[in-house]
Amino acid sequence: MSVAWQFYISTVLIYLGVDVMACWGLNLQFGVAGLVNFAFIIFQAAGAYTAAVLTLGPAKPASQGGFQQYLGGAHWPFPLPILAAGLVGGLLAALVSGVTVRRLRSDYEAMVMLVVSLIATSVATNQIGLVNGPNGLALVPKPLATLVGLSPIGYQWLFVGITAAIAVCVYWLVHIVTSSPLGRTLRAVRDNEQAAAALGKNVTGLRMLAFILGGVIAGISGAVLVEFISAWSPGSWLYPETFVYFTAVIVGGAGNNLGVTVGALLVPVAFLEATRFLPQFGPAGLIDALQWIVVGVLALVFLWFWPRGVIPERRRRFPMAAKDEVPVRTGG
């Protein structure tokens, strides 16, 4: 395989890893717990900024050749910036859900989340000292790049490995939630909040838990992405990006981890990332604009014709007592 192809494939794999993690996180919130988090992308952004700032080191004033301003820089060794990103994503989610999930019903919650997303972009853009305003952060050192004497393509594959390892950890977290009684209770809360409360379930606590876990995962996905692309600016996390992930979850099958993995492969990767490598045609910006249209149409078509997605949520069956392995799952 030529080096160019290897770059292409490894890059797509890393983007896939990031998007799959993000989709798992959103699925936990939206597919499993029924939380319509239209601000999902800001939790990814919070993680990305956190990891960037904790990798870049302290900001230098312009007089010493510093070209970007931000708060709280540090030189933390890999993988601490990624863990911190998960923590910050979770804390931000705790803060936001403490106000919204606690007080609002789902349709109002969705509206508020959209507004939160817009406010966050506006603050990050205009508060230059926070994360360098509209220009964003750049030249974020790549993790382990100085430690190992790898060729650029060797490093690409190392990063694929790092991404895969992190994705495995994230999957474990998602899996223990969705496969356990906790996941069943979250799905019950999604289907009927009042009835779940009437059966002794702390609905607010459960919804906040799902929201925070989604925030942690979003933060981690953002951290992996920024460590790979070395830059992050408000343009990377405008509110429409959230809808790409929503489309992926809806197309793949909300409530099914495998389904949303397929959704992440089909929507963000196939439509958005992979097409960046295709030749441009038509006037400048046409392909970008068409991508948004395709994503929007895709979401509408699926909600209309296949609302349960390509791989719908599984029907959990339980074998009779004599047999041992419980629960057997079949497609439903």
Partner: protein, 256 residues
């Protein structure tokens, strides 16, 4: 149940307003153990509001609810439920995208693996208990003649089957007081008779229930004690015979 029938539930001077309308306006009554107490009254009498307050779904404007001798006024629903006060809904409230069996499993109290930390301990920690719960749920389904629907999505059940699921799910939650909001509303007569028989069996097993019901013949057959509400107040309490002779009740029903 003890021979002394101290009330399980005591509601004292309960008030609830909705924008100036007094839905419940000073209601007081008690629920004795081991029986079905019927809560009857004309439309708009405040029965459902009272039941919602007892279940924790609504907060009272004034008044107290005490349960097993403890003040539980205005606790949120999930905490009422954890004390054993389980309610069913007048409109079916199934978890539509869960199977019938899963609907029942969700209801079980104090489940292992229902917190993040316990879930992280893995299957070996929660699966033995889950197996036992599956068996219990199957016994309930067999009792209510719903075994064939075990793997059906609850959202696909008929209206009558949803009523049965509502009742089974309530029982799965180990209630010490079951609040029933018109458990036979909208079901065909033969299923209504079956539900009535199930309720009679449950009271025979010692379960305490408070039931809102419009069909007075059913109330007469099932309920040893009856509370009559009208215009937010309790206008009479006693057996069906007591109530029949109460002029205020007759007036309320005629006017109401």
């Amino acid at each position: 149940m003890s021979g002394l029938s101290a009330p399980v539930l005591a509601v004292q001077d309960l008030h609830r307003e909705f924008g100036g309308v007094h839905a419940v306006n000073g209601a007081s009554f008690t629920v004795p153990p081991g029986r079905i107490t019927g809560l009857i009254g004309p439309n708009g009498a405040g029965k459902s509001t009272a039941l919602n307050i007892i279940a924790g779904a609504l907060k009272p404007s004034a008044g107290t609810v005490s349960y097993q001798g403890k003040d539980v006024t205005a606790l949120p629903s999930y905490r009422m439920a954890r004390r054993g006060i389980i309610r069913t809904f007048q409109l079916s409230s199934e978890f539509a995208a869960l199977t019938v069996l899963e609907n029942l499993l969700v209801a079980a109290p104090a489940q292992r693996g229902e917190t993040l930390w316990q879930a992280a301990l893995g299957k070996w920690y929660w699966r033995p208990q889950e197996r036992a719960l599956v068996e219990r749920a199957r016994q309930l389904m067999a009792r209510f003649d719903m075994s064939a629907k075990e793997d059906e999505y609850a959202g696909n059940l008929s209206g009558g089957q949803k009523r049965l699921l509502e009742l089974m799910r309530g029982l799965m939650a180990n209630p010490t007081l079951l609040l029933l909001d018109e458990p036979m509303a909208g079901v065909n007569p033969s299923l209504a008779r079956r539900i009535e028989q199930h309720l009679a069996d449950l009271v025979g097993e010692g379960l305490t229930m408070l039931m809102i019901e419009h069909e007075l013949a059913v109330v007469e057959r099932l309920c040893d004690s009856i509370v009559v509400m009208a215009q937010g107040r309790v206008i009479s309490e006693g057996t069906m015979a007591d109530i029949r002779s109460d002029q205020e009740v007759l007036d309320a029903y005629l006017i109401g």
